[in-house]
Symmetry: C2
């Protein structure tokens, strides 16, 4: 629910994470949240800094093409945004943000959030992309910001075979940085690899939510299979552990981007958010990321 | 023909043109040719700077994913490159270049050039890509280095209709920066537009060769049609002129990249190069770009 007297907006945004210390605001660091909150606060002449709730709190260096956030704003300040233009307040906000945001963040769309919408808690699942260029790929310097170079040739067939063994509702403790009092149980809906036309390996990783460093650890475990260092059953054996597996490489952030956040149909939004919040509040439950 | 006592190598390379003052070496400027020639000269301990012949002399800010060049090298210096490794001299050169080139240039492959090969004169045609994001496209900050933002919505159907009228063996004087004593007759083999899955407009532009600023001027003329400022026959009417058309916008360099250079089968290389050179040496003939 939006705060009393405010109007909730959904923001769809994209960013090049290279020069950000991740999503979450931190004193003295350049973060996406910090830059965006500061722009919104300026445009709306808000007395207090605008607070932003985000679907995926990306780490330092991780990108997004399909990030979703919400903000609760003063309706009077919002209505003033178009000035004498014929634009809607939401359209005016997109345009004014485009004028003041740096060129590594783009707010693509702003819309009135439907009842019950919560960018974080109402999400059904999140989809990430990981890009790797092995020696069989054509290295493209224009994609060096979102592609990791890998020295050894990777076998996509073996990687897909290993990836399939990890799918489902499972404990991903072996692939998570532990957090006090949070479970590491998630539903991994998809982990699949393709070679793009230029030879770059692209992983699609989809889950209800992810624990910290989970995508990069899953990719690291599967890459060890792809280069023949580990057998195809090794990631599944790791998954049986209840503690983080130190021998799994956490892959570099630059290859990772949040591509999409999927929400239920409007009538189901509130129920979904309630369910996620209830699970979070239960002892030892997962934190949505 | 390679110089006496040298061996000719073909280099396939890619670069992000953003931070280069174009291909061609210029005193005091950072250029792709300058950076590459300096790396080759260092690796081969050459007494004189290595000279590079390139297929497409790209302008400042223009990128390449499929650039081709050749160099004539001292066979003894080349044979010394692998040292005690089991690599071929060509493989060693790729690897050693990767170690010293900055991360905005990649030499993807080095091979012994077949007899008669000349990167510039033996080329049959060159293919360029131009990327434009209008308001109907999803703006991706990760592609801002090779994509131009356009404020007005563009009609792809109209753009393709206008583009088709420009194809064939014609005088492109209206779209060329004039050079003393060079004709502006070229064969435009393809000029076509598609919307990619993310809504970005991509033009494929293919010709035997291009005069200076030709791709960016053609795109500018067609974009004027796409946004409805000019009718679909306007580019064809411009083409009838024998002088540069000042009302055509030369589009920004960042949207442009050289994607491919096509050569004939090996037995036809020498004849193709001879034919191109003969045309160049005729009075008022085109300069291959």
């Amino acid at each position: 629910m939006s705060e009393a007297g405010t109007v909730r907006l959904r923001l769809d945004l994209a960013y090049d994470g290279t020069d950000f210390s991740g999503w979450a605001a931190q004193p003295g660091r350049r973060t996406v949240e910090g830059v965006l909150a500061s722009a919104l606060t300026t445009l709306l002449r808000a007395a207090e800094p605008v607070r932003i709730t985000v679907a995926g709190r990306t780490d330092a260096g991780v990108h997004a093409r399909g990030q979703v956030a919400h903000v609760d704003l003063d309706p009077i300040a919002l209505a003033a945004l178009p000035g004498r233009s014929t634009r809607t307040p939401e359209g005016a906000l997109v345009s004014r943000l485009g004028g003041i945001l740096p060129d590594d963040v783009v707010v693509r769309a702003v819309s009135r959030a439907p009842t019950g919408f919560d960018a974080r808690f109402a999400a059904l699942h999140r989809r990430y992309l990981y890009r790797l260029a092995d020696p069989d790929a054509a290295h493209d310097p224009l994609r060096r910001r979102d592609t990791v170079s890998w020295r050894r040739v990777l076998d996509v067939g073996e990687m897909n075979a290993a990836s399939r063994t990890l799918l489902g509702l499972k404990d991903f403790a072996a692939f998570c940085k532990r957090r006090e009092g949070a479970t590491t149980t998630r539903t991994l809906l998809e982990l699949s690899w393709v070679r793009l036309p230029d030879g770059v390996l692209a992983a699609t990783v989809r889950a209800d939510a992810f624990c910290h460093s989970m995508v990069r650890s899953l990719v690291g475990a599967v890459v060890a299979v792809g280069e023949g260092r580990r057998d195809v059953r090794w990631p599944a054996r790791l998954q049986e552990r209840t503690e983080r597996a130190g021998e799994v490489l956490v892959m570099p952030a630059r290859g990772l981007s949040l591509e999409e956040v999927v929400y239920p149909e409007d009538p189901q939004l509130a129920a979904r958010a309630d369910r996620t919040r209830a699970r979070r509040d239960a002892p030892g439950s997962p934190v949505a990321r």
